[in-house]
């Protein structure tokens, strides 16, 4: 039996919402990064589902590109976090507010 498309999309939306909430309420930069990964994954799921139900490859290709971008982002992000940690700062994004006017 075929699973309807919207069930995948709903699931994707749910995961995305959870990721967004996590991004907004967590303060540990590592966890915030994980939440971003979560959101990206949710988008990937939506891409894959749309690709499957429209018989098109575009979604899959885009999901692939998103994975690549996410990997790049994690690498740089974690390098920054390590630098912040080496500088002896707390692991709390609310403390990292040097850009405040």
């Amino acid at each position: 039996m075929q699973i309807p498309a919207y069930s995948f999309l709903l699931l994707s939306g749910g995961i995305f919402t959870l990721g967004a909430i996590g991004f907004l309420i967590r303060r540990n930069p590592l966890v915030i990064f994980m939440c971003i990964e979560l959101m990206l994954n949710a988008v990937n799921l939506a891409f894959a589902a749309i690709s499957r139900y429209l018989n098109s490859l575009d979604g899959v290709v885009f999901a692939f590109l998103v994975i690549t971008v996410a990997a790049a982002e994690v690498v740089v992000g974690i390098a920054i976090i390590v630098q912040v940690y080496r500088a002896g700062r707390d692991m709390d994004v609310d403390e990292l507010d040097l850009m405040k006017q």
Binding site: A20, F23, L24, I25, R27, I32, V93, D94, L96, D97, L98, M99, K100, Q101
Partner: protein
């Protein structure tokens, strides 16, 4: 020819670039020879063009399109016909001689490479002015020569008088530039074209003597009057003598100041179509000729006398082109370029010999001290006074003849020109007698040195031109442009020639009597003339009039704007805006918490808002818009 014409233009430009970019690295001599050599090369190309033009070739070639916008097309086209050929020849010949002269004259000056850079740029702009085939490039050249004039008058920028004179010249020239630009506007509005060929062929679509064509011609005249130092925009030219003497010779005697004459001659089809404007040209010319000649009689600064003389002679040319004797005007332009450049360069030698003292009353003893300068200056003086068979005699006679054979106001102007011929002889011999000295007048112990050959040879060549220039068949050469000149018959010809000769002879006799034989008469006559002489000596108080009417109110307005308007209104508005945003931003910058999470919140909120709004307007939400 289509390659020669740009070469004529580009060689002075190349000289300018070399001197402007590498002038400091070049030895002083090289700087001068680069400057003079580029003009010499340009002269060679100009001669090649002359050969082709004599062969009957004309050219109006577009090289590239500068810009194109709808109806508005500005090509870069060069227009070569006998008229522009005559102009480029005079510019390059006289320009080359003056450049060579300058190598000697400016040899001791610190800024020699700057000087030659400016001079080359000037020649480039002047050539662009006369070769341009449309109004836009004409205006470019027109403004370019004004700029170079400004730079060269103020060449010795550590002299306050030079800086003031430069500023004055620039402001007055800009008045003319504005007139030119407006003329181009009106032409484009009515004819939809700006290149000469099309304008000339379409001008007959306008009603003859109508408002439009008269407005065009009068606006062009504003430019011509300002550039050529005619009444009422003449006051800058005497002050412009603050510049180095070669500048006075090249720019303020031979070439740039005659650009106005060239303009009217180039636009002769327009002026033929606007008789009223042409009459204005003639009247301005005739009045200026007489007016400047009277002032010239009273001045004691050698270069200023020559400056007023230049104004007066250009007045002749204006008179000629105003009454339709275009070939005569251009003929006089050519002979004038020779003898006036000669006079200025000789005067430069004299001024150098007297250690930059320009007061003719301090001079004398020049025949022994500066023989070459003495004799060449004499040739120039004779030529400008209309001594028979010298260049000035032919060209000036032709103008007076043409004016006297006209009717109405033009005839009156012809009488003024005749009177001016007498005055010219008077003031030139006054200058010559006082400055160069009848030896018995005073005994001068100073030991004078003649200028080096590099300064005298160009003067000798120009003296040859001033003596023999009258035999060039200029009128025939220009016939393809202006058509055949009216023949008035031999009897009238000789009678009018005799008339001018008599006028000049009387002028000479008076000068000889007053300044050479009986100097006490000068004092007595001066006393008898009283207020009139005072009026003339003060140049009719025109500078003072402009000062009261324009300059001082201008300064007052500027002070008002600076002290009241600027701080209150302008600054008030600007600062008010700034203060407003400063105050506002004090509130708003609290948003910039620097917290990543709050930015995330705003980002997500914004995304939701935007997506929601789009979806709502497209009707993708359960509750629809509209």
């Amino acid at each position: 020819m289509s390659t020669l014409a740009p070469l004529v233009l580009l060689t002075p430009l190349a000289g300018f670039l070399i001197n402007a970019l590498f002038g400091r690295m070049l030895p002083r001599r090289v700087s001068g020879w680069v400057g003079a050599g580029s003009i010499g090369l340009s002269l060679v190309f100009a001669l090649a063009i002359l050969v082709q033009v004599i062969g009957g070739e004309h050219m109006d070639q577009t090289y590239f399109t500068w810009w194109s916008s709808g109806l508005f097309d500005v090509p870069f086209n060069l227009y070569v016909d006998p008229l522009s050929t005559l102009m480029i020849l005079v510019i390059t010949v006289v320009g080359f001689l003056i450049h060579v002269y300058s190598i000697g004259y400016m040899a001791a000056d610190r800024g020699i490479s700057r000087f030659f850079a400016y001079m080359n740029l000037f020649v480039f702009a002047m050539l662009l002015l006369v070769l341009s085939g449309n109004f836009i490039w004409l205006v470019v050249g027109w403004a370019g020569v004004g700029l170079c004039s400004y730079l060269l008058i103020g060449f010795w920028y550590d002299r306050p008088a030079a800086v003031l004179a430069a500023r004055k010249a620039f402001v007055m020239n800009v008045i003319g530039d504005v007139g030119m630009v407006f003329a181009a506007f009106v032409i484009f509005l009515n004819l939809n074209v700006l290149d000469f060929g099309s304008v000339f062929s379409r001008v007959h679509q306008l009603p003859k003597g109508g408002t439009v064509i008269n407005v065009i011609c009068l606006l062009l005249l504003v430019g011509a009057v300002a550039k050529s130092a005619q009444l009422p925009l003449h006051t800058w030219l005497p002050d412009a003598m603050e510049g180095p003497t070669p500048v006075s010779a090249l720019i303020h005697a031979a070439t740039m100041v005659t650009a106005g004459v060239y303009l009217v001659a180039r636009m002769h089809l327009l002026y033929d179509w606007a008789p009223q404007a042409a009459t204005v040209v003639a009247v301005i010319g005739g009045v200026t000729a007489l007016f400047a000649a009277t002032i010239g009689m009273t001045q004691v600064d050698i270069k200023r006398v020559l400056a007023y003389s230049t104004m007066s002679q250009i007045g002749y040319m204006f008179l000629a082109v105003g009454i339709g004797a275009y070939a005569a005007g251009m003929f006089h332009f050519m002979t004038h370029a020779f003898f006036k450049a000669l006079l200025f360069m000789a005067a430069g030698n004299v001024v150098h010999a007297f250690h930059d003292d320009q007061d003719i009353r301090h001079m004398g003893q020049l025949r022994r001290g500066l023989p070459v300068t003495f004799w060449t200056f004499l040739i120039g003086t004779l030529s400008i006074s209309g001594f028979p068979l010298l260049a000035g005699f032919f060209s000036k006679d032709e103008i007076i003849r043409a004016a006297l054979s006209a009717a109405g106001i033009e005839f009156v102007m012809g009488l003024a020109a005749l009177l001016t011929a007498g005055l010219t002889a008077f003031y030139m011999f006054r200058l010559f007698i006082i400055a160069f000295g009848w030896e018995w007048l005073r005994d001068d112990p100073r030991h004078l040195h003649e200028a080096p050959p590099i300064q005298t040879i160009p003067i000798i060549i120009l003296a040859a031109g001033a003596a023999l220039g009258g035999y060039f068949p200029v009128a025939n050469f220009l016939e393809p442009v202006f058509g055949h000149a009216v023949d008035i018959g031999t009897g009238a010809f000789i009678a009018l020639a005799l008339l001018t000769l008599v006028a000049a002879g009387v002028g000479f006799a008076l000068a000889y009597l007053v300044y050479a034989r009986r100097p006490e008469l000068a004092v007595a006559w001066r006393a008898r003339l009283g207020p009139i002489a005072t009026l003339v000596e003060h140049k009719y108080y025109i500078d003072e009039l402009y000062d009261r009417v324009i300059v001082r109110p201008g300064f007052a307005l500027a002070r008002f704007l600076n002290n009241v308007f600027e701080p209150r209104v302008i600054d008030g508005t600007v600062n008010g805006v700034a203060d407003f945003f400063l105050l506002e931003s004090r509130e708003w910058r609290l948003i910039q918490t620097g917290r990543v999470r709050s930015y995330g919140l705003w980002t997500l909120g914004g995304a939701i808002g935007i997506v929601g709004l789009i979806a709502w307007t497209l009707g993708y939400l359960p509750f629809r818009s509209g």
